[in-house]
């Protein structure tokens, strides 16, 4: 890591921290409680950014995997592997937040609803991706198998997104990004600001975590090369 990228990562981390604090304040203090769900609805300020970050992460896995299979450059594999790990974290958090939100609103922690089930399948696919990467000793073979699984796993995301339209589900359809209405017509402005701030915080935090995870992947690759070919 050069001094320049190190500084950029630190600035990104500081910006992320600033927006996290601002998002927490706006989400927990400034935004009003929901008319029907009361304060429980504040979980939305975590839930929506978490799943959008998971989608973004698996999109990066998809792009990195396609590039790796095409060009066979290690940096694309390092990127895909890093994004998969963080994507698993945010998908797991989305499911946990959803369960905690589901209990007071639906009366259950979990139900075999199409969207919930497809999200759980997404999590399992990418846990399998991480296990596969850890279990196959030959690094190049692990990277190729991982790339194929990463591409297949990403195809679950359009299904998750469309599941609320295609099937009768307990999970509500989108209430903010609706094709028939502008976001500010569907939600209280203070709630929209809270959601926006938390989304920005999660995006900044995501790229901070990704840059640190990529750094780790690069150093792991360097260690592997040195063990194979000796000091250069």
């Amino acid at each position: 890591m050069t001094a320049k990228t190190g500084k950029a990562t630190r600035i990104l981390g500081a910006l992320a921290l600033f927006f996290v604090v601002l998002g927490l304040y706006w989400g927990l203090v400034m935004a009003p409680p929901d008319a029907y769900q009361g304060d429980t609805q504040r979980i939305m300020y975590l839930h929506i950014p978490s799943i959008l970050i998971a989608y973004l992460s698996f999109f990066i896995v998809f792009v990195g995997s396609c590039l790796f299979l095409w060009k066979r450059e290690r940096r694309d594999d390092v990127l895909a592997y890093a994004a998969a790990e963080i994507g698993v974290l945010f998908t797991a958090l989305t499911i946990i937040e959803g369960a905690i939100w589901g209990k007071p609103t639906w009366g259950v922690w979990w139900t075999w609803d199409a969207r919930l089930t497809l999200t759980a399948i997404l999590l399992l696919i990418f846990i399998a991706y991480l296990m596969l990467r850890a279990l196959i000793e030959e690094e190049d073979r692990a990277a190729v198998c991982g790339a194929i699984l990463g591409i297949i796993g990403f195809l679950d995301i359009p299904l998750i997104h469309m599941s609320v339209y295609w099937w009768r589900t307990l999970h509500q359809p989108p209430s903010i990004l609706r094709p028939d209405k502008a976001p500010w017509d569907n939600i209280h402005p203070a709630m929209l600001v809270a959601l926006g701030l938390n989304f920005v915080a999660f995006v900044l935090l995501y790229f901070y975590l990704l840059s640190r995870r990529i750094r780790l992947g690069e150093r792991q690759e360097e260690l592997r090369q040195r063990k194979l070919y000796g000091r250069r």
Binding site: Q37, G38, T40, P104, L209, R212, L216, R226, Y229, G230
Partner: protein, 58 residues
Amino acid sequence: MSHWGYVFLAYGIVWAAILIYLATLRSRLKKIEVELAVIDSSPEPEAARDPRTAGPRR
């Protein structure tokens, strides 16, 4: 559990998980740096220095 109980449970789990992940990233990176430093400080093996014999060591 009250409404705020669910909210704090969700926020607590999310931020604790992110902080733990960040801490594990740091410790994993530190471990790799130590391993790299050990390789750098150890005498270079003959095979790595001699271009005729340099290649994958298995």
